[in-house]
Amino acid sequence: MSTMDAPSKGQIKLVHIYPREMSIYGDLGNTRALASRLRWHGYEPVIHRHHPGNDFPTDAHLVLGGGGQDSGQARVEDDLAHNAEVLSALAADGIPMLMICGMYQLFGNAFITVEGDRLPGIGILDVTTQGNAKRMVGPVVLQTAYGDVVGYENHSGSTQLAPGQQPFGAVRSGMGNNGIDATEGAVTGNVFGSYLHGPLLPANPRFADALIKLAVEHALGEPFVPGRIDDEIADQARTRQVRRLVRR
């Protein structure tokens, strides 16, 4: 936070897709957290909100999406289908993306409703979600490549990973993708899908900084130079949740 007046190390463009329709559980907090951390690291965040019907910003350095209601999903489906190729190309190019809950499902192959209808996703993540009568709701602890990750899940869809699809984490407490195989979320290249609200990034700064590193290196073509951030409060918030939830 000492770098407020220092010259910017460079501009990073964060694209939050469908903030109006798909950000009901505080997922806006992921964008807030990345913007603050970029500033604290000495970079200049530029936030772009993409709404259905507008041109998709192909110069995105990091793309974020959140959870919504059924009505919100219905509002964005056409625009997402329209931009599926752009998003796939950005993903193939290594642009980091974080898709939570509803947008995680839409980044998969399909969502099968309780009635058996198949709603196609854009297939960047090799996962398929089955609608369920019962909701999976509650606090979650994961073991991930970024250490323990805490959050809160609230979904009725049950997600299956295709063979070979990497999960984001292993469930230490909570339900995860489906409540059965102890996987949570999915990762393909630099595209991350997860059910975790909380929101996910503020209390899990190691993962947040991993996304920032990917974005910075892609945007500026040079190594990420982190600033000094005191994450004591985030670490306390996270470890306290882990202690409450994980029985040893």
Partner: protein, 431 residues
């Protein structure tokens, strides 16, 4: 007969504002409510919505009583059906039938519908739909659906928030012959609405609210504290109520007063008197923890309940221009909402200049972290509420203070404060 008997048996369990006796009766005798309310054919009023139920109910009851009506209500904020039954047991005679002109009941959205399955309300007042306790109701669209179903079961009149499209769109759902009345804000302050409302993305078209008629009440503030409720579509002003000032501060309280006044006018018809409404509203004290001011060793301590993004945003807007030493207490029990994600849908920039003295509650560190991401300095973090309160009162003895707190944190702090300063307890609140 069975119903009366059940009431008598359960009446021995009375007292304390607890929901236990109500729970017993609810189990023993599901027809209890139908029987108890049988004589109130023209005035069974249900008040529901996400924000402002307790305050609005209190205001509506005050106006009706000022007009000489005897009103039964559930004043303790116990807004589940069993809470209503419990408070009824304390007033019910041996016949098992409530003797009052009207019943005005505050019910949460799910229980309002449960209540309506037993007793059809004659009137319902639907305040607003916002994100609240998503782990209980799942989605705001679902909440809107619950309110629409309540409106469908209402027999005489519904009062709707004209500015909240989740609510005003319900107008098309009422039965034939049921009167629709609206309350809302005057066009002159329409720019304040976004802070009070959720985006309604259920429909592709933009929402156009209906044009207000003479029966609809519109809020016209004069300044931070003074306002009028205008009737007659804002025309000649002969029917306006006010100007007046409430004991509770802020735009949300003024909107609640507008909703209560509009509903009272509908219920009372030609008997409604604007000056009596003003007298009643002026006297209404804020309910416990809703902007209540406690005398803490000679300094005011404001206790402000926050339970969802809209509520917290409105509270920060209300108190933002009078910054004082602040504590924020966040729990994550069922009644608070177990998911604290919602804190990230609130902007805390208004606290930046003065900072926050203390965060507390089970999620004290998550609250401090939230503030950090908005560059708001936090002087201390203490999860234990008793310890935190002790420290807060001690360290800032000589200045006005304010605590923003979630529901169970508020209950704990209020109990502590009641013991410390000899205040009334929950369930003993004067009407």
């Amino acid at each position: 007969m069975a119903a009366g008997k059940a009431a008598r048996v359960a009446s021995r369990l009375r007292g304390g504002g607890s929901a236990l006796p109500g729970l017993v009766v609810e189990r023993v005798d599901p027809a209890f409510l139908t029987h108890a309310l049988a004589d109130l054919a023209h005035g069974i009023v249900v008040v529901t919505g996400t924000n402002g139920k307790t305050t609005t109910t209190k205001m509506l009851v005050a106006i009706l009583r000022e007009h000489g009506r005897t009103v039964f209500t559930n004043p303790t904020g116990s807004n589940f059906t069993r809470g209503v039954i419990s408070s009824m047991l304390a007033e019910i005679p041996l016949s098992g039938r409530l003797e009052a002109d009207m019943a005005v009941l505050e019910l949460d959205e799910a229980h309002a519908l449960k209540f309506a399955a037993a007793v059809k309300p004659t009137h319902s007042l639907l305040l607003n739909v916002a994100r609240d306790q998503l782990d209980r109701f799942a989605e705001i669209d679902h909440t809107a659906k619950l309110l629409a179903e309540l409106a469908e079961r209402t027999t005489i009149g519904v009062v709707l928030n004209i500015d909240d499209s989740f609510v005003s769109r319900i107008a098309g759902r009422v039965r034939d012959g049921v009167k629709v009345t609206y309350f809302g804000v005057d066009p002159s302050i329409a720019d304040r609405l976004p802070e009070l409302q959720e985006a309604d993305v259920r429909f592709a078209d933009d929402f156009t609210p209906p044009a207000p008629t003479a029966a609809d009440g519109l809020l016209k503030p004069k300044d931070d504290r003074t306002f009028e409720v205008r009737f007659g579509g804002g025309a000649d002003g002969a029917d306006d109520v006010g100007p007046l000032e409430l004991k509770q501060r802020g735009l949300a309280a003024m909107i609640n007063a507008t909703a209560a006044t509009t509903t009272a006018r509908l219920l009372l018809g030609n008997d409604f008197r604007a000056d009596w409404a003003v007298t009643a509203l002026r006297r209404v004290a804020p309910p416990f923890g809703r902007g209540e001011v406690i005398d803490a060793d000679g300094q005011p301590l404001e206790l402000v309940l926050v339970k969802n993004p809209v509520g917290f945003t409105v509270a920060l807007g209300t108190y933002g221009n009078t910054p004082v030493t602040t504590m924020v207490a966040i729990n994550d029990n069922y009644a608070d909402g177990r998911d604290v994600s919602w804190l990230y849908d609130v902007s805390f920039e208004s606290l930046r200049d003065k900072g926050v003295a203390l965060t507390s509650g089970v999620r004290a560190y998550d609250m401090a972290l939230r503030l950090k991401y908005d560059d708001v300095a936090v002087a201390a973090i203490e999860p234990d509420l008793d310890v935190a309160l002790e420290r807060f009162l001690g360290a800032y003895e000589d200045e006005p203070k304010r605590i923003f707190c979630t529901y169970t944190a508020m209950m704990a702090l209020r109990r502590d404060l009641a013991a410390r300063y000899g205040l009334a307890n929950f369930g003993e609140e004067p009407a």
